[in-house]
């Protein structure tokens, strides 16, 4: 599926016909949140939803909503979510995590849009209504932007695939030219060379300018994550209750919970809860974990 060469993309017409519940071939260019991460273009696979007002690929649903051809207020987001969760069950491992995170972005945006859509609108008289509409536009913009890049990535994939098949002349330099290259000037001592190796193999420290002095966090999620990591790595499995045992400050309690979410997002831990509001059991699952992971953790909260 190589996109046509003319450089124009219109995400609003990306996947099939936009005639409501009509038939859809599901092989549009962007498979929405559906396409398998590794396979790139998973023909017809991906997440489909079956609602009263709509039946088809999730991506098409988004298209219709963003084109105002389907009213967001008529879409049951909880039903979409239920279907997504059962769809996820069929996936495995990393695919699951990636798809879930992408779904969350889109679902959160949809939810916001729906809230904006359900609120009474009336005449555009007061500043509040205007602000509401603007907020809704922002959400549309966010959704469309996300989908535009998804769309563009399809073009990238197609071009790269096409270019993979091309053959450029890349030949070794003939010996007669190689021999005319000026003699190499070598100045490194053996110890310099070893030092260079150390330098080259040391993982790069990511420069980080702390903003702590601007918004001094009362409790650091990163520090709390470090606590959770060391507890879980030692014990393997703990309940959340055990993880927060002895904590009295609400701030620490919250930060520790947020760090658990962050660690889950980094696929470092798994958790299970057998019933709503029941005991939350945390399990250490990371194959690899380094200080670097920890340093990057919770960066969203720094802003």
């Amino acid at each position: 599926m190589v996109p046509s060469p003319e450089p124009e993309l219109d995400p609003s017409t990306s996947s099939g016909t936009a005639d409501g519940t009509g038939t859809v071939d599901g092989s549009g260019t962007a498979d929405g949140t559906g396409a398998g991460e590794r396979s790139g273009t998973g023909e017809g696979e991906g997440f489909r939803v079956s609602l009263g007002v709509f039946d088809g690929p999730f991506d098409l649903l988004l298209t219709l909503i963003s084109k105002h051809e389907l009213d967001i207020t008529e879409v049951s987001l909880s039903k979409v979510t239920d279907e997504f969760i059962s769809y996820l069950r069929a996936l495995e491992g990393a695919d699951e995590l990636d798809e879930a995170s992408e779904f969350l972005v889109v679902a959160a945006t949809l939810l916001d849009m729906k809230v904006a859509g359900l609120l009474p609108q009336g005449e555009l008289v007061d500043a509040e209504s205007v602000a509401l509409l603007e907020a809704r536009d922002l959400l549309f913009a966010r959704l469309l932007q996300y989908r535009a890049f998804k769309e563009a990535s399809t073009w990238f994939a197609g071009r790269m695939q096409a270019e993979d098949r091309r053959h450029a002349r890349t030949v070794r330099l003939d010996a007669k030219y190689r021999n005319t290259v000026p003699e190499l000037v070598w100045t490194l001592s053996l110890d310099d060379f070893a030092a260079l190796a150390v330098l080259a193999m040391t993982p790069k420290e990511i420069p980080h300018v702390g903003l702590d002095h601007l918004h001094a966090p009362l409790v650091s999620i990163r520090e709390q994550a470090a606590v959770v990591v060391s507890m879980l790595r030692t014990a393997g499995t703990l309940s959340f209750r055990q993880v927060v045992a002895g904590v009295s400050q609400p701030g620490v309690f919250v930060a520790r919970f947020l760090s658990v979410l962050e660690l889950y997002r980094h696929a470092a831990i798994g958790f299970e809860q057998l019933e709503p509001l029941g005991e939350l059991t945390l399990r250490w699952t990371a194959d690899r974990w380094s200080e670097e992971n920890l340093a990057a953790l919770g960066a969203d909260y720094d802003r």
Binding site: R38, G40, S101, W155, F156, H167, A168, A296, D300
Partner: protein, 193 residues
Amino acid sequence: MTDDVMDAAPPLTEQLEAVLMIADEPLSLVTMATAVSAPVPAVRQAVETLVDDYDGKAGGPRRGFELREVGGGWRLYARAEHDAVLTDFVNTQAPSRLSQAALETLAVIAYKQPVSRGQVASIRAVNVDSVVRTLLARGLVTEVGTDAETGAILYGTTDALLVNLGINSLDELPHISPLLDGPDDTDIFEGAR
């Protein structure tokens, strides 16, 4: 030896052909001009002559190769029509495909550059650190500076990306600009309601 015409310098096109024959990456007009000690406009014209010549537009036969402008320079390629035959012949192993996540991140960086990982992550809404490392290792993106305010590393795309895409400049990326005017600019939806 046919040294009979050696009093005059060989034509520019011939010298360029020789240089292109031993080059192993796209050559810019300036690089070629330096190599053959000729002014850039003359080199540009000679390159155009060769392109037409190889395409069979100069009276001679069409060649089995072509001169393409890719990634900011010119390079000899086997003609696309023969790629199927050549694939059997060279049996090159294509590099492993980029994941969907990597492609999307690459697209965001390509359109938004220079851009920090944090900014990319806020669009893709997932952690992009490992993906960016993959793209760095592939040579498709590179560090282009740091944000003056936050000190965050800013990333941009490389010429190698252009070569991989078979295009010559970022201008050849598909237009998606109307959708990318940041959320600050809500005017874009004026007509949408």
